[in-house]
């Protein structure tokens, strides 16, 4: 049992922090970048690729770095620290993770290398209007067309869906849910992008007999991909928890700095216990969430029950993210609600993270279904270690 990072991991953190500090150390830069499509900086994306980060979790034989969940966690936390708008988790961890999990060797060699190089930005088109946080598809269906497939239906919101070079799409097939690949320039594909409240981008993605290829081995032995989707979503939930930790860390630091400098009634705000006690409570929420997020990544690395671990960290970081995000604004006062000041953007991003793949209520409901199965939860024992 060891909660410390090794020297290579510390070096990785330093390097990522350096790169992202240069890009977004000034929060005005982020504001400008997210003001224009595609909502992130293509140059920063290239630099992330040069550093090897876009292939971080992929096997070396597929052009990746062969790194583990802890390294992914480090990058995600650093992204959160400056709320960098680059879709590392959405493209690399989630969409790339699905390709790595279920793709054929050929698909993995070709696509993961392209993602790692930064040449291909993929997106996972999964969410559908009228459902939420499901592992299966219902609004998009796949039909066999000769050797290939066609997709019909609508996915929305698809994070980064308009910019994506490649869509990984979940669709109804054989009564289950399959995974398909659709090129960004495929005929019969209509994408309507828009800005989301946190400065990211999402899209309505409409398939109308759009040609697609099946991701992975399409034999009848593997007709349904909900288990793979559940696992990929879980791994992305863990990564989002780390992004949230980074964002909360900065939000709390900005807030504490503000309390030390802002004067009212002739004294700085940190003279008011009503305010400092609330900052202390923010710290408590953050540290509990941090411990749980680090643990979930270790569970993933150890090959434990990643779905349950993801629910646990999601619940903790959802509660903490709302607490820290709301209090960060309240302790600032009016300036916290303005777009020209940074702290509110952190709250906005924390709110988006909370809802993209399942919030705390979603996680606790799932945990509640199994609450009677064990007398006590041992985080260092089965089913986690």
């Amino acid at each position: 049992m060891d909660f410390t990072f090794d020297s290579e991991q510390n070096d990785l953190r330093e390097a990522v922090r350096g790169l992202l500090e240069r890009a977004y150390g000034d929060s005005e830069t982020r504001r400008k970048v997210v003001g224009n499509d595609p909502g992130f900086d293509e140059k920063t994306w290239s630099r992330l690729a040069e550093m090897g980060l876009l292939g971080l979790p992929f096997a070396e034989e597929h052009g990746g770095m062969g790194a583990g969940p802890i390294e992914v966690a480090i990058v995600a936390e650093e992204i959160g620290r400056v709320i960098a708008p680059e879709p590392f988790i959405e493209a690399v961890v989630l969409a790339g993770g699905l390709i790595a999990a279920v793709g054929t060797d050929e698909q993995k060699s070709e696509l993961l290398a392209a993602i790692a190089e930064g040449a291909c930005v993929p997106a996972f088109a999964h969410a559908e209007i009228g459902t939420r946080w499901s592992t299966s598809a219902s609004a998009v269906t796949a039909a066999q067309a000769g050797e290939g497939w066609t997709l019909s239906g609508v996915k929305e919101p698809v994070p980064n869906g308009a910019r994506a070079d490649l869509l990984v799409v979940s669709a109804v097939v054989d009564g289950g849910t399959g995974l398909f690949l659709v090129q960004g320039d495929a005929p019969g594909l209509t994408r309507t992008g828009y800005r989301t409240h946190d400065g990211s981008r999402a899209a309505n993605v409409r398939f109308d007999g759009t040609p697609a290829t099946r991701l992975g081995d399409g034999s009848p032995a593997h007709p349904d991909r909900t288990a793979a989707i559940e696992r990929a979503l879980s791994e992305a939930r863990i990564a989002y928890s780390h992004e949230a930790i980074g964002a909360m860390d900065t939000a709390l630091r900005i807030t504490a700095d503000y309390l030390k400098t802002r004067k009212q009634f002739g004294v700085t705000l940190n003279r008011f216990q009503a305010l400092t006690f609330r900052a202390a409570d923010m710290y408590v929420s953050l540290e509990l969430a941090r411990s749980t997020a680090l643990w979930a990544s270790m569970v993933q690395e150890a090959g434990g029950d990643v779905v349950s671990a993801a629910d646990r960290t999601r619940l903790q970081s959802s509660r903490a993210g709302r607490h820290v995000g709301k209090e960060a604004i309240q302790l600032h006062g009016g300036i916290g609600v303005t777009a020209e000041y940074s702290v509110g953007h952190y709250t906005s991003r924390l709110t988006a993270i909370d809802h993209l793949l399942g919030d705390g209520g979603f996680a606790v409901a799932r945990l509640a279904e199994h609450v009677g199965e064990r007398e006590t939860v041992d985080p260092l024992g089965a089913p986690y270690a």
């Binding site: 309390l259 400092t276 900052a279 609450v371």
Partner: protein, 391 residues
């Protein structure tokens, strides 16, 4: 970063678990598990069983019975003890005055007190708080005045836990009322509770129990040799001691045990023919507390694993704050699961209300104390805001 305990630590955990569940009398552990009154003789019997196996004071210097364990081993020792419902070694002895004497006492005092303190041959109580000195402990007013070689003590202490069982008291007294800083004029004296001039008045708590007392001193004559450490340095010893008091105060193992009980009892109670545990709202509430407990346990592990260099991890202040809140949340759950049965607190023979439901509310009311003692949660927030956030 590694999740698993090393094979050595896994074996250590097994060893602890096996000792606690087989070598400490089951009747005593059952009482602790049921939140029933544990008698003085039972505390003594349990601590002596631990001490005989070298498990009462592992955190003391090796010379005086300590084990030179890592912080993680000590954490496992404590968690397993709580999970097995073993009465913990008396904190006043093992976490407070014992370590103070070991660190600041003279050789004669060490030889006179430490072995008996570890074995609970002496039962110590704490004379710190006073009616006008609670969180602001340094404003205490009990005085000790030199008279020849002796000290003469006058004043009053309060919240003296289990003072009714105590053989000796360790007391903070004001020895220099003229000191510029009030912290600087305080000394630590120890003396027997049967010294002439000491009287004790039990305080009944809202659960109907008697744990705490007022202690009055009227011209109590204490030999000069009973001063611990240096005159007017008592505040330093108190801070050292209170730091120890916060160690292990998260009480994750104890809360886990309560949550396991909550699940078991929520199966016994039915709502419209279905076990209460299957009620989505109740299941969600339990799952939420359980998850916070996981987060707290992991934070405790982070803290102990990173404090090997002797300095506490900054997150350690979280443990007392959240640990007490979760202990209270667990007791509240038990009351809510008992529902209307929870009012039958003082039912005796002839009542069909199960024992756990009878004790649920007194326990819940009694546990209001955990966010107050050991530095109230407001004091903890002050520490976090000041020392961690720099506010």
């Amino acid at each position: 970063m590694r999740l698993q305990l090393s094979p050595e630590l896994q074996a250590f955990r097994e060893e602890m678990r096996s000792f606690f569940t087989t070598q400490v009398p089951q009747e005593i552990r059952a009482k602790v598990a049921a939140h029933r009154h544990v008698a003085k003789e039972e505390y003594v019997e349990a601590q002596r069983a631990l001490n005989a196996a070298g498990l009462a004071v592992p955190h003391w210097p090796v010379e005086w019975g300590g084990r030179d364990w890592t912080p993680l081993q000590r954490h496992i020792w404590r968690e397993e003890m709580q999970l097995a419902s073993v009465p913990e070694p008396l904190a006043f002895n093992t976490s407070m005055i014992g370590p103070v004497i070991a660190a600041f006492g003279n050789q004669e005092q060490k030889e006179r007190f430490l072995a008996k303190t570890a074995n609970l041959d002496i039962w110590w109580c704490q004379g710190f708080s006073e009616p006008d000195a609670g969180s602001d402990l340094a404003s205490l007013r009990t005085t000790a005045v030199r008279d020849g070689d002796d000290w003469v003590v006058n004043g009053q202490k309060t919240w003296t836990t289990l003072g009714q069982h105590a053989d000796w008291i360790f007391c903070l007294v004001r020895t220099d009322p003229t000191a510029e800083k009030k912290q600087r004029g305080i000394s630590m004296l120890v003396f027997p509770m049967d010294t002439p001039g000491v009287t004790l008045r039990p305080i009944e708590l809202i659960d109907g129990g008697f744990e705490v007392n007022e202690v009055f001193f009227e011209d109590v004559r204490v030999p000069g040799e009973n001063l611990i450490g240096e005159e007017n340095r008592g505040w330093d010893y108190a801070k050292f001691l209170l730091g120890n008091e916060r160690v292990g105060i998260a009480r994750v193992g104890a809360s886990k045990k309560m949550l396991a009980q909550a699940k078991a009892y929520a199966r016994e109670i039915t709502v419209d023919g279905r076990p209460l545990l299957e009620d989505p709202f109740m299941a969600t509430r339990i799952a939420e507390v359980e998850n916070e407990l996981v987060a707290l346990e992991l934070t405790a592990l982070r803290v102990v694993a990173n404090s090997a260099d002797g300095k506490p991890h900054p997150a350690s202040s979280v443990l007392k704050l959240k640990g007490s809140e979760l202990q209270q949340a667990a007791t509240e759950l038990l009351v809510d699961i008992a529902g209307p049965l929870s009012v039958a607190s003082f039912a005796e023979e002839g009542s069909d209300v199960p024992d756990w439901a009878r004790v649920a509310t007194p326990h819940y009311l009694n546990y209001r104390k955990v966010s107050i003692y050991g530095g109230s949660n407001e004091v903890q927030r002050t520490i976090i805001a000041g020392t961690i956030l720099g506010l």
